[in-house]
Amino acid sequence: MSRPLLYLSYQQDTALLNTPGKRFWTSVLGIVAVSLPFLLTDDLLVVLATACVASIGAIGLNLVTGYAGQVSLGHAFFLAIGAYTAAALSGDPDSTRLIGFGITSVPIWLLAAGLVAGLAGLIVAPLAARLRGLYLAVVTLGLVFIGEHVFKHWRDLTGGVGVGRPAAVPELFGIQFAVDGSLFTKAQKLYLLMLVLLVIFGVLARNLVRSRIGRALAAVRDRDLAAEVIGVDVTRYKMIAFAVSSFYAGVAGALLYVMIGFVEPGSFNLGMSVQYIAMVLIGGVATISGSVLGALFITLLPRVTRELPAVLPFISSSSAAGGITVFQVETILYGLLIIAFLIFEPRGLFGIWIRLRTYWKSWPFSH
């Protein structure tokens, strides 16, 4: 079809890859992503695998905050639920110290992690039906503190502060992903697994947002009263948004510590929630590809800041050396980036991309 704008069916109009250009560049991107394990070193692959997982989490947050417009600072709470559900399910059943069921098959614990987190989201959702904006943000913030407290003290599940427990064990069709194999290293296998999962969950999310549900969510975001008037059941769609978003958070939480192999209950704090908010804001509100971009950006940022002490002598790599540490620089950078993006490019990295694309698409006119 050489007339891309001549829509002959609704399917063609709403297709994910509706132009030859998109089809071409998506396949190029796919080939590059698959060939990366053979081009990059293992430590970088681990970072990229983490970025893939973070992307799933960011997509989840974007669904509720970006698409449905419900500000949530409680993302870390749902990530934690996912992480511990998966860890407990795949944990050593013979351990005396920790809960464990020995189910190491990825699909089972992944789904379970998602479902439990989703259920938690569903329980929280009625709050969102009654609260809006800042109030909702504060309430979801409360979730993080409750979660932090519970996870710190439920030693049978989490191992307690400073001790932690082993993360979920990834195993599929008898293949162990978290150990070096004869053909692939651990990092290569994990990267490919996470990449495949990201593609699956990314496409699922894209499908969701271009459907009836997605349009209903956007209606709720833009004006809940107006949405109600045009026949959108606001309460129901807010619940769906929270449930799906939490499901994604659960999945991401389950996978997040697989690379390190260890979970520490103290890590699911407000900082983590803010990190995900940053991913969404920097990547692009209400876009799936933006979430992935943001997650990549935020996850790769520490890799970059770690190189800073070599260039800027006043930044040190540990607090003992005095001066400003890389960790502080990182935190400051998050803040600065969020401020800068909100002021200069509220649509995030994705907005920059859209702007570039429009510039060339509208050539030689301005619009």
């Binding site: 007339r3 704008l5 829509y7 002959l8 030689p364 301005s366």
Partner: protein, 612 residues
């Protein structure tokens, strides 16, 4: 006897699944195959028989271009009746005149607006049925016994087809070459519209000449071509390009949503064959210039540079009959990469392999502009009375400023004494409907049609048209001036939409000029010139200065007696409903001169100071 009905039926037999029509409905282009096209048209035929339409009766259509228009046209011709098209913009009085004069028995009205117009006319003894296509606002609210909804109308056809399966086929067999298949009312810049009777033989000749033998395009149109149907189908030009190109050559017809969305629809459809009246081409050209001027600096620089190059390329093409020289081809190739490809795509002209302009004179600059962008642009000439078959610029043999060479088998000559163009061929109409007097005035006993246009031969092969005979101005000094040339030179400016040159029996020439609100509005915005309405904008001294600049520039190209000495800007947009334009958007000179008599007199030192 082959008619458009037999042609559509033939296509339905040969390529039943091929796409005949596309129309946008809720954002999706709905497709109609040839089989569906013929099936519905045949149903319409049966329904018309069921409503008592006999051979020779008239069926009127009052609608924008849409599928039902063509279904009705084909169905009507199939049952040997004649189609009468009414312009959607026709006001009540004209609708009344046309329905009464044509004596239509059935009216197909698009929507509540058109139904209301017909219902507002009292004295229509022959109109028995009004079929409405869009039920909104009519169904369950109107109780006029003549009203039938389109689905019910088709149901009548289904019923009739079940009872008399061969009724339509039999009428098609009985069809004779001298059956009147359509009445096309000429808009008439003077006097009431006249109904041009075109017979089956006329239409058949036109289809053979223009479509099958490729009288316009080379190679001839084929099912791989597509057109956008956006000009009124009641006009002979659009009937050719969307009705007959489809029936005759299987070209896929896309209906534009409305005249306002033509730009968007062009961008979507990217037709391969495009016909436009000068107004459309002028508007596209002005749009391109304005949009490049208002782009950001880089785009403005690049776009502006390549537009100037396009001017140069257009000049070379015009000088070479539409063919490239090595240099112009090389420049075009680079420009294509940087600008022309994207620009044509944005405007919707990227796939156009044949572009034509006709129905009114156009300024050569506009033609050159499009030729420079790489659009194969051809000016063509014809009129309703000769089924639009007269002359055309043929691909590769273009002479800008002329209307081209006579078609094959068409006789064209110029009357020695008056300079009037005469044509003779089998497409010459059968006469004006119920007006033998008017027929006798234009149609000689020897079969020569008096076109009413004054012209001359260029290089012995191409015809150049000076003007309409009755429009020629004779100044008080006794000088003959063709106003259209001046007017088109003025209208070639993106800032000028309408220009009416006045000066018959006057000392000097003057002009009433209507500005183009979009471009002048933008111009004023850029200069931070506040304005409220069209009238306010027209009255701004700065705007008058802008137009003065254009007028001065144009004047330089003309001899002293042919120069516009003074002008006034029209305080309102000319409109069909106010009787200032014809349905085809041509200016009615006398109406305008009368309506703005005060402005005209002020230019000749009469009463009123005027703005300048």
């Amino acid at each position: 006897m082959s008619t458009i009905a037999t042609r559509v039926r033939e296509r339905a037999r040969k390529t039943p699944g091929g796409i005949a029509l596309r129309e946008k409905d809720l954002g999706i282009w709905q497709q109609v195959s040839w089989l569906q096209y013929w099936d519905t048209a045949e149903l319409v035929g049966h329904a018309l028989i069921a409503l008592g339409i006999e051979p020779g009766d008239r069926v009127a259509i009052h609608s924008e271009n849409r599928r039902e228009w063509l279904y009705t046209d084909v169905g009507t011709v199939a049952v040997r009746a004649a189609t009468v098209g009414l312009y959607p913009t026709n006001p009540v009085a004209e609708v009344g005149y046309l329905l009464r004069h044509s004596g239509a028995k059935v009216l197909i009205a698009e929507d509540q607006e058109q139904v209301d117009k017909a219902l507002a006319v009292d004295d229509l003894p022959e109109l028995r049925h009004i079929v409405y296509v869009e039920p909104r606002g009519i169904r369950y609210r109107y109780d006029d016994p003549r009203l039938i909804a389109w689905p019910d109308f088709l149901a009548l056809g289904t019923e009739h087809r079940a009872a008399h399966p061969n009724a339509v086929a039999q009428r098609m067999i009985d069809a004779r070459p001298d059956d009147v298949v359509t009445l096309i009312y000429t808009s008439g810049t003077t006097g009431p519209p006249k109904g041009v009777m075109l017979t089956g033989a006329n239409v058949d000749f036109a289809i053979q000449e223009l479509v099958e033998r490729g009288g316009f395009t080379a190679p001839p149109p084929s099912p791989r071509d597509s057109v956008l149907s956006y000009l009124p189908l009641c006009h002979v030009a659009e009937r050719i390009f969307s009705g007959w190109f489809g029936a005759g050559a299987g070209v896929c017809v896309h209906f534009a949503e409305s005249i306002e969305t033509v730009a968007t629809n062009l961008h979507e459809v990217q037709p391969t064959v495009l016909f436009g009246v000068p107004r459309i081409w002028e508007k596209i050209a002005a749009g391109v210039q304005i949009r490049i001027e208002s782009a950001d600096p880089v785009k403005r620089l690049v776009g502006g540079y390549w537009l100037r190059r396009a001017d140069w390329i257009g000049g070379i093409l015009a000088a070479n009959g539409g063919r490239h020289t090595a240099a112009s081809r090389a420049v075009y190739a680079i420009g294509w990469l940087f600008c022309y490809r994207a620009l044509k795509d944005r405007v919707g002209l990227r796939k156009v392999r044949y572009a034509a302009c006709g129905a009114a004179p156009i300024a050569p600059e506009v033609l050159r502009f499009f030729m420079g962008l790489g659009l194969p642009m051809h000016e063509v000439y014809g009129m309703t009375e000769n089924t639009a078959v007269a002359t055309a610029n043929r691909p590769g043999r273009v002479k800008v400023g002329t209307v081209g060479e006579p078609h094959e088998g068409v006789e064209v000559r110029i009357d020695e004494s008056t300079g009037e163009i005469l044509t003779r061929h089998p497409g010459t109409f059968a006469g004006y409907w119920q007006d033998p007097e008017a027929t006798a005035k234009v149609l000689g006993p020897d079969g020569w049609l008096h076109t009413g246009d004054v012209g001359e031969w260029v290089d012995g092969t191409h015809l150049r048209i000076t003007d309409r005979m009755k429009d020629i101005i004779i100044t008080a000094g006794g000088k003959n001036v063709a106003p259209s040339e001046l007017e088109n030179a003025l209208k070639a400016s993106p800032y000028i939409k309408e220009a009416v040159v006045i000066g018959d029996r006057r000392k000097f020439l003057t002009a009433l000029i209507g500005i183009e609100p979009d471009t002048v509005g933008h111009w004023a915005q850029v200069r931070r010139l506040p304005y409220s309405t069209y009238g306010d904008l027209s009255a701004k001294p700065e705007v008058i200065g802008l137009v003065q600049g254009v007028v001065d520039e144009v004047n330089e190209r003309f001899a002293t007696v042919e120069q516009v000495r003074s002008f006034r800007l029209l305080p309102k947009v000319l409109d069909h409903e106010d009787g200032e334009l014809t349905a085809t958007q041509k200016v009615k000179r006398t109406a305008v001169a009368t309506a703005f008599a005060g402005l005209v007199e002020s230019m000749y030192g009469g009463y009123g100071g005027g703005a300048r």
